[in-house]
């Protein structure tokens, strides 16, 4: 695909035909099509997502000086509209439209492409939601006439639960979780925690910290409260005193992060390692088993389902189950769909409480290309 795609009448016909099949399938499962504006206020993307999405978002200024952007995805504007309209939940929403992404360093990639997908918002039964979305993703490719694809999956809660089971100060646990998506970094942190010197620093009292702060009374608090600063300074001092992880446990976690392969074998390895480290993650593993059972019931060959422990790392807003569907085009493997759970999004966008959310997006142009040139 060129950076500036041109759609001739044949391409449009093919895309439209495929879109009709997809939206028909979505409608038959209760997902009505909606369409947010292409041009969006920039803040919702820039404030609620990190610099990684910002880097890839086209922003522009309107003549009055307001910052706007071309939507880099449809999930965020759909969720925002759902929050603002106080939609009754669960809500099932389908979409098919263009998204725009700057591709820094990759000039051959298209900067605009179509995505068709669904969002399932507010279904409390998370397992049922996952089954519903996973089935819909598989069936969507089938109605497009594509049966030759493989699945990669992971679960971000697995790593979070693992970190929570470690004997580490809470600040360090949240640091590990926050950086899970950065390959290499977490492994280095774990090594340092397990094998580093874990030097203890002298304890610091609250009075000492308050005195330090009083001495800087002229400096602005810059968005934080005095109490917030004191509390973190105390936490930091306390953490420094007990920063050490059993080397065996640290190594087991690092090895676990490395596990990737056919799902059934990979999960067996995960179980073995957890047993060695004395960590119980049965609920998370049972959820993974249930997803495998769903795929089996959809007649997906288990050999084509891959579990990767660190999967989901590079995706900013997912919070739990994540999956991708892959096929072959003439240049090699290509991702044709991706989805997962993003339970913190609705609250980030203004909902009063967390709302369960899961969805999938299909790269419809890639699906067509795969069918044309694939094996």
């Amino acid at each position: 695909m060129p950076a500036f795609p041109y759609y001739d009448s044949k391409a449009i016909e093919a895309l439209n035909g495929q879109a009709v099949s997809l939206l028909g399938l979505f409608a038959s499962r209760g997902y009505g099509r909606e369409e947010p504006a292409v041009l969006q206020p920039a803040e919702i993307f820039l404030d609620r997502s990190g610099e990684e999405i910002r880097r890839r978002t086209f922003t522009l200024m309107d003549p009055s000086g307001r910052e706007l952007c071309l939507r880099p995805d449809l999930t965020i504007p759909i969720c925002r509209a759902a929050v603002e309209a106080r939609r009754s939940l669960p809500a099932r929403i389908a979409y098919n439209g263009l998204v725009f992404r700057h591709q820094p360093g990759e000039p051959h990639r298209p900067m605009q492409f179509f995505q068709a997908g669904v969002e399932l918002l507010g279904l409390e039964d998370r397992a049922a939601g996952e089954t519903e979305i996973l089935s819909l993703a598989v069936d969507a490719l089938k109605v497009c006439g594509l049966s030759d694809f493989s699945i990669r999956m992971g679960d971000l809660t697995l790593f979070n639960a693992l970190v929570d089971a470690l004997a580490l100060p809470v600040g360090w646990r949240s640091r590990l979780k926050r950086h899970f998506w950065r390959a290499g970094y977490v492994e280095n942190l774990l090594h340092w925690l397990g094998h580093g010197d874990g030097q203890a620093r002298p304890p610091v009292s609250r009075a000492e910290i308050e005195a330090l702060l009083d001495a800087r009374a002229d400096a602005p608090l810059a968005g934080r409260s005095r109490e917030e600063i004191i509390a973190r300074a105390l936490d930091r001092a306390a953490e420094a005193a007990k920063l050490r992880l059993d080397a065996k446990v640290a190594d087991a976690v690092a090895q676990l992060l490395d596990i990737s392969g056919p799902a059934e074998e990979a999960l067996a390895k995960v179980r073995a390692l957890l047993a060695t480290a004395g960590i119980n993650l049965d609920p998370q593993l049972a959820a993974m088993d249930a997803r495998l059972a769903t795929l089996k019931s959809l007649n997906i060959d288990p050999a084509r389902v891959q579990f990767t422990a660190h999967f989901g790392r590079n995706m900013e807003y997912y919070t739990g189950f994540v999956f991708e569907l892959w096929a072959q085009d003439k240049e090699g493997p290509v991702q044709i769909a991706g989805g997962g759970r993003y339970d913190s999004m609705m609250e980030m966008l203004g909902a009063k409480k967390p709302v369960s959310a899961i969805g999938v997006a299909i790269r419809t142009e890639r699906v067509l290309a795969t069918k044309r040139g694939g094996t």
Partner: protein
């Protein structure tokens, strides 16, 4: 004709003139050019243009000029990836300034980028929006924060007096340029221990996208030999020119 741009005002301009004078090159202003064009005595094939420091960086990137002297901070902000676009020929030993990450001195719990990362995450969780970093250096900030593994923040463009942003409440953190740190201290700010993004100074730089015909190359070779006969500056540049 080889075009060389030098800063049109301020200390950078004075330092530039002195630097050329030390090498026996006297600048003569062109008649009727309102001080925007000049030449060196005895070197008619070099056209000297006086531009703002920022314009010099963008003109080098665009290939509108062959050589330019400006701050390395501006060059790296203009072109985050210099390779293939610009070549730094020689640091000139003046115009020293650091691009730094600075936070309020009241943030006694924050000394390093790792601390800032914790605070960014806590802030995003509590306020449901990202902590704001005011800066004129969006590109440098973005890549430095990425290296430091910080993602929970957003950049707000600063048009001037960046150091006042935390007190004014328009941003929580700043990335700015400093020479002695005095302005930052006066505003109650401190530089993070590992928060120096770039130690900058004036650089003689070449545009790799300008039109380097044979005559221009010859002129450039003799100019660089005159500026620093010992350093073999031209061969290093020529290797990068297509």
């Amino acid at each position: 004709m080889l075009t060389l741009a030098i800063p049109s005002k301020g200390r950078l301009k004075d330092n530039c003139n002195a630097w050329f004078a030390e090498r026996g090159m006297v600048m003569e202003m062109a008649a009727g050019a309102r001080g925007y064009r000049a030449s060196f005595a005895g070197m008619p094939e070099v056209e000297v243009m006086l531009l703002s420091a920022g314009e010099i960086a963008s003109s080098l990137l665009a290939g509108d000029i062959h050589l330019g002297i400006t701050g390395e901070d501006l060059l790296r902000e203009e072109a985050p990836e210099l390779t293939g676009r610009m070549q730094l020929i020689k640091p000139l030993g003046f115009g020293f300034a650091d691009v730094v990450v600075a936070v309020s001195g009241a943030w006694i719990d924050v000394a390093t980028m790792a601390d800032l990362d914790d605070v960014c995450a806590a802030y995003a969780g509590k306020h449901k929006r990202r902590l704001r970093v005011a800066t004129k250096y969006a590109q440098l900030t973005r890549s430095f924060f990425a290296q430091a593994r910080i993602s929970d923040y957003r950049i707000v463009a600063s048009a001037g007096a960046t150091e006042g942003a935390p007190a004014a409440g328009t941003a929580e953190v700043i990335v700015d340029i400093t020479t002695t740190g005095a302005t930052l201290r006066d505003n109650g700010l401190k530089i993070l221990d590992d928060g120096v993004i770039l130690k900058s100074q004036a650089q003689l730089a070449a545009s790799l996208s300008a039109d380097w015909d044979a005559d221009v190359r010859k002129t450039c070779e003799s100019l660089l030999n005159k500026l620093d006969p010992a350093a073999a500056l031209y061969p290093a540049l020529a290797a990068q020119l297509r």
